[in-house]
Amino acid sequence: MEQMIPIAIFLFVLFLLLGSGVWVGLALMGVAYVGMELFTSRPAGDAMITKVWASSSSWTLTALPLFIWMGEILYRTRLSEDMFRGLSPWMARLPGGLVHTNIVGCTVFAAVSGSSAATLTTVGKMSIPELRKRNYPETMVIGTLAGAATLGLMIPPSLTLIVYGVTINESVTKLFMAGVFPGLVLALMFMGYVAVMSFVSKGFNPDPEPKMSVMEKLKNSRFLIPVICLILVVIGSMYMGIATATEAAAFGVIGSLILAATQGSLSWSSFSESLMGAVRTSAMIALILAGASFLSLSMGFTGIPRGLADLIASWELSRFELLMALLVFYIILGMFLDGISSVVLTMAVVEPMIRAQGIDIIWFGIFIVVVVEMAQITPPIGFNLFVLQGMTGHEMNFIAKAAIPMFLIMVVMVFVLIAFPELATWLPDNIRKGPAG
């Protein structure tokens, strides 16, 4: 590539600004500005505003602050306590204990929301305090949360799959169905890792849960009823055609308010605190999204992502080699870009390569999602890392380190997908051929 020096400058500025402690959203803007100045004569500031306004005023984004608000409301109710009271008698005996609630919670919430950040804030807000109370190792709590929240992108509904489907002209419904089993398998792999670590790791000594008879356990399970109702309402509203995916978030907020009211934990102060808390968190995320949208524009002008994809295309690799090259390519890209941007910036070049190799394009969508999920937890620009930092106050490197095992599990998941492509293709193929089709 002839653009080695500009790329080097670009990376230098990125690490300088982010590393020295400039606020993430503003640092991204600064980097994007430098990119625009280096690679194009177009007016950087005007272009930034066009892009920032479009990304901040988007209808599909409205679900995000609503889900964050829902998390803030639930966090102030007895719901999370109750949920853990209902679950702990059953799960405490499992190897890994209540850490599994992080993963199961994210998997269930992934079926409600299309974004990883919403999944992370809602589940994390409830589970982190409860798990800490019980002395689970902090790295385990943070790491599993960072990893499992990315299931929001794989288990339908999924914003990434919608964008991928529209970009390559394939059925979004098929893609959604393709995501179901791989999402569940990935969740199981996370749980397997937790189980193994509970034996291996010396630091894994949570407080023991009190022993209970089966009757007592069943009796305690009544605490789960409100949570189950809430989940059923939100998911049900979507699948019964009452609400679109975005509108389901509104059901979530209203459901949580009702729940809080019935538990007597809804007061003016808890209401306003939850609201202001949601406003702060979504403003934090919005500033980063604004910066990221400008960075994505700047990357488009630089032509770096497409140049790299072109480079890979010129190598004429075999099918497996190509997938490996793309795996490395998207991991590197994912360090610096959010998933949706890396998809739209590269698909024009990558799609023909995939089709030419006879790779199933629906299957490849799931492959892409796993890789995009990794991007959420890889530094320096990893969205889940940012959100967790805002939520827990831990340093970025602590969170990133805690998430490394999850990253490796996702790499393994890619090979599982290659070995068993039916995981992704079976459901869409068979439902298509069904009597309804």
């Binding site: 066009t50 599909t60 964008v163 419904t173 995916a245 002008f301």
Partner: protein, 301 residues
């Protein structure tokens, strides 16, 4: 000089392919003096931002579905008046009359019009057989523009506002049961998974227009301008041919996947054209003298 050209649709869409061919035609024709790089899939600017971006020089050239901007100027919606034209040929005749008006409207927006390519004709997707316009009463119909909202109002359909990104899911869950679009959209989105009928009603043929920032255009040397205009003529012709081919291809695909694809009955078509007359009047009211001149000239032929 390098010009970046934002485009809204996927790289494999025929509009994007025509645009890419146009870009390399210009690059070769000017011997590399003016290199045009296309950015499909809204990867640079999304569809909704492309006009603003080119208008203000944030990109020098771009492609946009023109009728999306008819709130700003009714003339941009001349290609989307329901049931005014009923075939590619009719539509081209209308466009030949209208394009000078549209070009001068674009010029007021600091844009130089280069060429445009029609989408395949818009048909009606439903989940049941429709014999009479009464059958449409109470059907949940996706409205996304002034024209589609008005259509729902006139036919008694229940308008539901569904954004493009949520279309597939809205159909899957029954939030929407019917919509108007080209056979291409139905093929791209695999609509047969949810709906059963496609009626070729040729409601309208919206166009994607390619335009250049006026200042950038004026700064070009005359040779480059000539090359661009030549390439634009070629692109317009290629695009029209591709659009026609693609229409028959996508309708075949809809059929292959089990949808009933047919022309609307004469009875239904007559009712729809009545409705079209009302909506043409609506449009004329908004489009003023220029609009009247276009429609008069078209009907006079």
């Amino acid at each position: 000089e390098k010009w970046d050209m934002p485009m809204a649709y996927a790289a494999t869409n025929f509009h994007s392919e025509v645009g890419a061919a146009f870009a390399s035609c210009v690059t070769e024709g000017t011997g590399g003096d003016l290199e045009i790089v296309t950015h499909p899939s809204g990867s640079l600017f999304g569809g909704a931002e492309i006009k603003r971006a080119v208008m203000t020089g944030q990109a020098n050239i771009g492609e946009r579905l023109l009728s999306a901007h008819q709130n700003e100027n009714a003339l941009y919606g001349v290609d989307s008046i329901p049931f005014l034209v009923s075939s590619f040929d009719d539509h081209e005749a209308l466009w030949e009359i209208a394009s000078p008006y549209v070009a001068s409207a674009l010029e007021e927006d600091n844009l130089h019009y280069l060429y445009s390519v029609p989408w395949p004709p818009q048909g009606l997707y439903t989940n049941m057989a429709i014999e009479d316009i009464e059958d449409l009463k109470g059907v949940k119909f996706r409205s996304y523009s002034t024209a589609t909202a008005r259509m729902a109002e006139l036919t008694g359909m229940l308008p539901v506002q569904v954004e493009a990104a949520e279309l597939s899911q809205a159909l899957a869950t029954g939030v929407a049961e019917s919509f108007i679009s080209s056979g291409a959209t139905g093929y791209d989105r695999g609509v047969w998974e949810h709906l059963s009928h496609f009626y070729e009603v040729d409601a309208w043929l919206p166009r994607n227009a390619v335009f250049v920032n006026l200042d950038a255009w004026n700064d070009l040397p005359d040779e480059s301008k000539a090359v661009m205009e030549d390439c634009a003529t070629t692109a317009a012709a290629d695009g029209l041919a591709k659009s026609k081919d693609y229409t028959s291809f996508t309708l075949e695909e809809l059929k292959k996947n089990g949808m009933t694809v047919e022309r609307a009955s004469e009875h239904l078509m007559g009712q729809l054209q009545e409705l079209g007359a009302t909506m043409t009047d609506d449009w004329l009211e908004a489009a003023g003298e220029d609009g009247q001149a276009i429609v008069n000239a078209y009907k006079g032929e």
